[in-house]
């Protein structure tokens, strides 16, 4: 009784915005319950022509690259050894873990038989991109959960798990990058089967590679936006100096993406490209405003060093990525005579999932040390019990 009362007073002390998020999540949860009671046909605008709608296009195909910050930053900090970006890693891991958990929830809602999700483990089909993605998403959610356990173990002072987790840190970072490379690209492979269905502007054999490179761009942009938002609204210190370093990498990845995209259009696709005005506009917005404009913005030092303009450029990349995923998975697949748009319930569920993401991030940041992480106190070098690297190493000793 007292515990319940304590929780009640705690919730009452929350900011109004958090309460609003709680309301949105509740509405989304009720809406997803309706899907199971009344069936997919009654609650969604899906039909035999459009078997995949908003839930696949946003909750899976778009949400996965939006959660790419964790693996991108993990690899940048720990493998490419840009150690000073370390303070950004934990918030990115929390975002990634939440993102993937919600992807799993979205996918389960969309499945006709969610109670049979485990069948993927029993009946393998290695020819299926969906099999690949389900295995990767489950594996990567586990990796993110283990990475997320660090702040939890710190919070409760569990020393042994902390030591195990620290010992696992590097293997987890490498596994995260390898698994993410696979499923980020395989989401693009999904649509390689849609020959003669996906519009020529987006259908090309490089789709998996393009999905992977754009996921890396979006991962870094999300981190820039998130750190700026945490500074602005959650009273966290300004990480502008670190974000500048991150922003320096973006012109390279964006440039690579644009080059691959142009190459795929010119050399690997067959026209007609501009036969449908709506799609042409969508393509121009995606490429022009979502990738080329931020490329030129991030290429300028003045933009990278300015907190506001850097955030705007990062926001444009996110816009480009979201539009690209919708173009590939929804707009580009549409029959001009028969338009799909999401139903109220589909929209409420997706809004609930987005609200849930923000809500859980804020709550986790409130109760766990995800910002107060001091990398300088942690020895990240690989354990060296045999003293091979030090002076005792014969190869080094013999070198002089």
């Amino acid at each position: 009784m007292t515990a319940a009362r304590r929780i009640a007073t705690e919730v009452k002390s929350y900011h109004g915005f958090i309460k609003f998020l709680i309301a949105l999540v509740t509405v989304g949860a009720v809406a997803s319950l309706l899907r199971f009671i009344f069936g997919l046909g009654a609650t969604t605008n899906l039909n035999d022509t459009y078997p995949w709608g908003l839930w696949i296009s946003f909750d899976v195909v778009t949400a996965v690259p939006l959660a790419a910050g964790a693996f991108t930053l993990g690899a940048i900090v720990h493998c490419f050894h840009i150690k000073k970006l370390e303070p950004l890693v934990r918030p990115a891991i929390v975002t990634g873990f939440l993102g993937y958990s919600l992807v799993s929830i979205g996918l389960l809602l969309d499945l006709g038989q969610p109670q049979r999700g485990w069948h993927v483990f029993r009946y393998w089909n290695v020819h299926s991109p969906m099999f690949e993605v389900s295995m990767c998403v489950m594996a990567y959610t586990t990796v993110l959960f283990l990475e997320f356990l660090s702040p939890v173990a710190e919070r409760f002072g569990w020393h042994l798990p902390l030591r195990v987790l620290r010992w696992l840190e590097m293997p987890l970072v490498v596994a995260a990058a390898a698994i993410s490379t696979l499923h980020q690209s395989t989401l693009g492979t999904f649509f390689l089967i849609a020959v003669d269905k996906l519009h020529n502007l987006w259908y090309n054999p490089l789709l998996p590679l393009l999905f992977w490179v754009s996921a890396i761009c979006s991962g870094m942009s999300i981190i820039i936006l998130e750190a700026s938002a945490c500074h602005k609204w959650m009273g966290q210190p300004n990480e502008g100096v670190l974000l500048r370093t991150l922003a320096k990498i973006l012109p390279w990845t964006l440039g690579l993406y644009i080059a691959l995209r142009v190459f795929s259009l010119v050399a690997l696709s067959d026209g007609p490209f501009f036969d449908r005005p709506g799609l042409t506009i969508s393509f121009a917005l995606e490429m022009g405003i979502g990738f080329i404009l931020p490329f030129f913005m991030f290429a300028q030092k003045s933009v990278r060093d300015d907190d506001r303009r850097r955030s705007i450029a990062a926001g444009l990349v996110i816009f480009g990525l979201v539009l690209n995923r919708f173009n590939v998975s929804m707009f580009g697949m549409m029959d001009p005579d028969k338009i799909y748009y999401p139903s109220l319930i589909e929209s409420l569920v997706t809004i609930g999932i987005i609200a849930g993401h923000v809500l859980f991030f804020v709550l986790i940041a409130r109760y766990f040390p995800i910002f107060e992480h001091h990398p300088e106190t942690v020895d990240y070098t690989i354990p060296d019990p045999l003293r091979k690297v030090g002076g005792a190493s014969p190869s080094l000793s013999s070198a002089d």
Binding site: F36, G39, P51, H81, V195, V389
Partner: protein, 281 residues
């Protein structure tokens, strides 16, 4: 009853010029597969076409097409059904392998395995798999090629009921028969055996007198669809090892460099560390 040699890949040869539009095939299909009736209205499509589309209750349907020939009104027909591809897209994309191309020809669906992800519906170039949209825990529905009949040596229900247009037999023989008809009556047909190469070859072969797209046939690639995704998916193990191995090596090198640098700095400042001193190189 055993009249079929079930060791061979069997195919339907459907000669649309011989179809009378009686829709006996539709009725036979519903009877054999115990499919519910659909509430429909007259003239919801062209001619006497009914029901308006294939669905979870309707595995096959005759599409009507009104056209004029020598000033006379004529009907043309197209029997919509699963094409039973030789290398089916649905089977390749299904994460749990619920679809299987049987040795006898039909592509069959295992409703005990299906998780309901609907990737088969996205992948099928002919738009065949349909979904039980009215149910809370829906499954996929599609033409079974009457595998249960074919396995026992009987012809599929629609082929048995059809008085004129459908021949059923080994696929190679059906293609030969189709080509013979094209050679003998070049004026009667569009010169094409639909299904010989479409989507890598199908077990339903069509002959028509009207252009295929006019009848509502989908434009499909001649390449087997699974090859489009496999050309990317086959790289998965290699990419996993390359990225994993590359990043492992990179971080090992960087960490080693760090450690040596730290030791050297400690050495230069003369600080005693627990590590053995590094010798100058």
């Amino acid at each position: 009853m055993s009249t079929l040699d079930t060791t061979k890949n069997h195919a339907f040869l459907i000669d649309m010029t011989k179809c009378t539009g009686c829709r006996g095939c539709q009725v036979a299909c519903k009877q054999w597969n115990q499919l519910e009736a659909e509430k429909t209205v007259f003239f919801s499509g062209e001619g006497y076409q009914n029901p308006p589309a294939m669905s979870e209750y309707t595995y096959t349907r005759i599409k009507f097409r009104d056209y004029q020939k020598n000033g006379q009104n004529e009907f043309a027909f197209y029997k919509e059904m699963c094409m039973h591809c030789n290398d089916p897209a649905c089977a390749s994309v299904c994460p749990v392998g619920a679809f299987k191309k049987t040795a006898e020809g039909p592509v069959v669906y295992d409703d005990k395995r299906c998780i309901g992800c609907r990737f088969c519906m996205i992948a099928c170039p002919f738009g065949v798999p349909k979904y039980e949209w009215s149910k809370g825990l829906p499954l996929v529905k599609k033409c079974t090629g009457c595998h249960d009949r074919v396995r026992e040596g009987m012809k599929p229900a629609c082929a048995t009921a059809c008085p004129t247009a459908i021949t059923y037999g080994p696929r190679a023989a059906m293609i030969q028969a189709a080509e013979r008809r094209l050679a003998r009556y070049p004026d009667r047909y569009i010169h094409k055996v639909y299904g010989k190469e479409e989507a890598g070859g199908t077990s339903v072969i069509y002959l028509t007198s009207l252009p295929f797209d006019e009848l509502g046939f989908k434009k499909v690639t001649m390449r087997a669809l699974p090859s489009f995704t496999w050309q990317a998916l086959r790289l998965v193990p290699g990419i996993f090892l390359t990225v994993g191995g590359g990043l492992s090596a990179l971080s090992w090198i960087n960490h080693r460099r760090d450690r040596i640098k730290a030791l050297r700095e400690a050495d230069e400042t003369g600080t005693e560390t627990a590590e053995p001193k590094e010798e100058q190189q």
